[in-house]
């Protein structure tokens, strides 16, 4: 059963006089437990597609159903609630909140769920353990290395047990060794926790860890 379903999605932007159409009548299905990588040259709509699935952008036409909810017609507030319950977002530059510790950063999404403090604590500890950073819980982002920061970002994305995890070039700003650690971690999350992952990457090697590889060019999917 498809957990992500895009039907005839179009999205265009105006850039001065020019109209750019990164997504032109795109149809896509991603099934529960899939690990999908999305590749393609710059400006071909990879991030746009990711943002549409994440509900932080809206299509000009077409419909998007994620985790059983048609998100195209939800209000901004409803989309925020929907994201809190169903979606984990891994950013390229981790985007941690600098004034919060690793623990508090990971705890942020759980504050949006109806859970007791004990339940929250258990989830945060599990997420930090999953990314191997239990001993760095009290550290602030400035006290962590780039790889550790990204792992905290991943823990934050999975802590609420989302149905879908989207990752926007999660290894884009890391060195080769750290990138490999992150790839392993993403693979484990998919295999061991069964999380559905949609990952945008430029790197063919990183794309190789996915179970399904998609290439986007000029608004259309190419055969991989």
């Amino acid at each position: 059963m498809a957990i992500v379903e895009l039907k005839n999605v179009c999205r265009s932007f105006r850039k001065g006089e020019e109209t750019i159409t990164p997504l032109d009548d795109v149809t896509l299905e991603i099934h529960e437990g899939d690990f999908v990588s999305l590749m393609g040259p710059s400006g071909t709509g990879k991030s746009t597609l990711l943002n549409l699935v994440a509900g932080i952008d809206r299509p000009d036409s077409g419909s998007i159903t994620v985790a059983g909810t048609e998100i195209t017609n939800l209000s901004r507030g409803q989309l925020a609630d929907w994201r809190a319950a169903n979606l984990g977002y891994i950013f390229q530059t981790h985007n941690l909140i600098p004034v919060l510790t690793a623990y508090e950063n990971v705890e942020l999404p759980t504050l949006l769920l109806k859970q007791t403090a004990a339940q929250r604590r258990q989830r945060v500890e599990l997420a930090l353990k999953a990314v191997g950073l239990s001993d760095r819980a009290d550290h602030y982002p400035r006290q962590l290395s780039g790889g550790q920061e990204q792992r905290v970002g991943i823990a934050r994305a999975i802590v609420a047990n989302p149905r879908v995890v989207v990752a926007d070039e999660p290894t884009g700003s890391l060195d080769a060794a750290t990138s490999e650690q992150i790839q392993d971690l993403l693979q484990r999350l998919n295999r061991e926790l069964g999380m559905t992952v949609l990952m945008v990457t430029h790197d063919r090697e990183v794309a190789g860890i996915a179970t399904r590889r998609l290439i986007l060019n000029r608004g259309k999917f190419l055969p991989s």
Partner: protein, 384 residues
């Protein structure tokens, strides 16, 4: 669901210099609000408490609100005492106080003369002016004066300059200070009281400025007004003392309006200080704010958190300013034409000062927060 409280608190320490400067700017603004509100409250109180509802002032029909220009016959108190039954009697003395009231140059020791307010009275005065209390010293004998608690402020001198035993010179005569009085903050506190006969002799005048009558609670001021109207030859007018000072308050309405305008202008400057700080704070956090939205935080939760930051800062400033105002401003004497009064940092002044401070926090944070939240999340996530 709201963001954790720690988020707002710790964000303030992210840019300590900027936060410190804003804290200082807001504190100064709120302190200025305290000064102006304390001024208004002090002035209003001084005029409000001066009036006694049982006292009627009889002055010259042409004098209006200016008692200095009033001149009534010296026999007026006797005539009134004989004609009006409603006048109170205390300790066998009829409570009718004949008075001369004059603004004149007063010299203290060898200093430059300064404008002072002289009220020449008899021993009937404290019977009518019931709030007057002699704090130290004694009632003035011939050639002596009693100074009010704020007389030094009116003269622009220190309290030591008008201490008991010091001398003052006015109307060509030297007077020795015999005592010091208070009047619960009433306007008399800025006056110098002397013996009526002495003053009449010094000014070579036989008339009076006014007669203050203390009526029995059952008596009506209308009875006194009727007497003044019937005795047209005396050219008198009677006005209840509370009405007289209410009228004076109206004279100071433009001053109060001006003061409130200053409050609004100063608060406006404070909003700009808050805006500047919050624009700076929010501009560097566009991506962070977008991240919070991507995680699932609603815009109103983020808006609330940003306002919380502004309010935290302004509340701290209000607290600092409130403490300074209470410690250093409350009770400071201010001169004005009618005498002197003290800045009054009372409950309402604290409420207005701190309320203005909190509003600065809200309105300073609102525009930058709204601006940041209006941006597209997808675009802001890529912001540098």
């Amino acid at each position: 669901m709201l963001l954790p409280w720690e988020y707002s608190v710790r964000n303030l320490s992210r840019r300590p210099v900027r936060t410190g400067l804003t804290l200082m700017a807001l504190s100064i603004v709120i302190l200025l609000v305290f000064v102006v509100v304390g001024f208004i409250r002090g002035l209003e109180r001084s005029l409000r408490v001066t009036g006694d509802p049982d006292v009627v002032l009889i002055s010259s029909i042409n004098s209006e609100a200016n008692l200095e220009s009033s001149a009534i016959p010296a026999r007026t108190p006797t005539l009134i005492a004989a004609s009006i039954d409603g006048t109170q009697s205390r300790y066998g003395v009829i409570c009718a106080s004949p008075e001369m009231y004059l603004g004149t140059r007063v010299t203290v020791s060898d200093r430059e003369p300064a404008p002072g307010l002289i009220r020449a009275v008899t021993t009937a005065a404290p019977l009518v002016r019931r709030s007057v209390r002699i704090e130290e010293g004694h009632w003035p004998d011939r050639g002596e004066v009693l100074v009010g608690r704020l007389a030094s402020a009116k003269l622009g001198m220190t309290d030591e300059a008008v201490a008991i035993g010091q001398t003052l010179t006015f109307e060509g005569q030297t007077w020795k200070i015999s005592g010091r009085f208070t009047a619960d903050g009433a306007a008399y506190e800025s006056e110098i009281w002397c013996n009526l006969e002495d003053f009449q002799s010094a000014t070579k005048r036989q008339d009076l400025s006014l007669v203050a009558l203390l009526l029995k609670p059952s008596a009506s001021p209308g009875e006194v007004s009727l007497f003044c109207k019937e005795r047209m030859d005396l050219e008198l007018r009677a006005v209840r003392e509370t009405d007289f000072y209410a009228e004076l308050q109206q004279h100071y309405r433009p001053v109060r309006l001006l003061a409130w305008t200053v409050v609004v202008m100063v608060a406006g400057a404070g909003i700009f200080a808050g805006l500047n700080m919050m624009y700076g704070a929010v501009a560097g956090r566009i991506r962070e704010i977008a991240t919070l939205q991507a995680i699932g935080y609603r815009r109103r939760a983020i808006l609330f958190s940003l306002i919380q930051e502004g309010v935290l800062l302004s509340a701290t400033s209000s607290l600092i300013s409130g403490v300074i105002a209470l410690a250093l401003l409350n009770g400071v004497a201010v001169r004005f034409t009618m005498g002197a009064f003290t800045l009054r940092i009372d409950g309402p002044a604290i409420l207005i000062g701190c309320g203005t401070g909190l509003l600065l926090g809200v309105f300073g944070a609102l525009p930058p927060a709204l601006k940041a939240l209006r941006s597209s999340v997808a675009v802001s996530l890529k912001a540098v």
